[in-house]
Symmetry: C2
């Protein structure tokens, strides 16, 4: 009897905590969302934004299927992982759905961010417009090359890599973009995680070894290029038949 009382008290606490926030509730229930679904979310976000800009205000899974290329069934399954955003007989409200997916993607959260490596790629990313629709705020670049230190990319200063740990602590930086050569990447990653970095957007061609609670998203350009190479070769063999 005592046990049942305890359980139901816990249950009331949980229900109260999440009543006003369905997304948190769903996350708490934590039927782990598969990476396959997660990686489709940004694409939904992009297509919904396009629709918004065309002043479309409602869309059915069937219509969306036609433009985005997933099956209608998959679209409904995907969205239902996060809540019932649609309405029978009507479909989905484009603006609402876009807003909800923004929230699910965490685009409303802000993160102080630094770019490590101020070479061509680091500079390209510093100027990258894609950041503006996210909560990542670029604060500075870091480089090892004395000739670069002190220079500015737009309104961002290039700082000495030697000072990065201090900077991260003092400026509450949570995210880093790694654009260094692969030889430097692991050491730097370990160093910055030590002082509070929670997530890394990694462009170095290496698989970083870090504590599992640190989120690493890789952009392995070589792997993408080699995949292109494979597919070209395959197509070529097909043509020769």
């Amino acid at each position: 009897m005592n046990k049942i009382l305890t359980y139901s008290t816990d249950f009331v606490i949980i229900i109260t905590k999440f009543r006003k926030n369905k997304q948190k509730w769903v996350s708490f229930m934590a039927r782990q969302i598969s990476m396959a679904v997660i990686r489709r979310l940004p694409k939904y976000h992009r297509y919904l934004k396009d629709l918004l800009e065309k002043d479309v205000n409602r869309i059915s899974s069937k219509e969306l299927s036609k433009i985005i290329g997933f099956t209608a069934s998959q679209i409904r399954q995907d969205l239902n992982n996060f809540g019932g955003f649609g309405q029978q007989g009507y479909g989905y409200n484009v603006e609402e759905l876009h807003r909800e997916i923004s929230k699910i993607l965490g685009l409303t959260e802000e993160y102080n961010t630094v770019i490590i490596g101020a070479g061509n790629l680091g500079q390209a990313i510093a100027n990258y417009a894609g950041f503006k629709s996210s909560g990542f705020k670029i604060k500075a670049l870091f480089d090892i090359n004395p000739r670069m230190i002190g220079l500015r990319i737009r309104d961002l200063e290039i700082l000495d890599i030697e000072t990065i740990q201090e900077y991260i602590k003092e400026n509450d930086v949570k995210i880093a973009v790694i654009c260094t050569p692969k030889e430097k990447a692991q050491k730097i990653a370990s160093d910055i995680v030590e002082v509070g970095i929670k997530g890394i957007w990694n462009f170095a061609p290496i698989d970083l070894e870090l504590p599992e609670e640190v989120i690493v998203e890789n952009v392995h350009l070589t792997e993408s290029l080699f995949t292109l190479s494979y597919l070209l070769n395959e197509q070529k063999l097909k043509d020769e038949e």
Copy 2:
């Protein structure tokens, strides 16, 4: 009887054609290799190169599993899609396997390549070292901005986008890297495919609509960044529990 004769003649021709090239034979048999497998190949290639550089000359699927993070079973399955590269009781010869995967990836094929869009990203890619281990030969950059036309990035000239169709035809260009704003990407892609482009490495945040025989490999940076954002948010909710 006639039919059987015909069949067996065909068979002899096929066998003869492919006797010396197992990879072509396997491709011809065309049990379609899944994208999941294809996208793992560059990672095998990278880890095998690392092993080569460390003068390791043999490795078992079990050992490789430990460093690359796929199961030993998956490694053996993956490799066997392309041929029996291993030896019972011994494992795989690192140098041979690396060479074979290079061939499978088509890294030995050469492709004249152009970069379209000479902004930060286009320049970063023009300077990108990852190309050197592939067969993609960058010949020129193209831009719409008159102030950029005529400038040089390393030893590459920036040419007028207006002249691109002509250039592609005259220089036997087969591959293009698209680094333009998304508004320009579709039009340019259609234009260049018209004059012989076979493959596109697309950095514009749009899904290009092109004939199905054209190979498109997308690098959608925003989608990668938004995935990072999602995972950070998820981790945050976990921490708050």
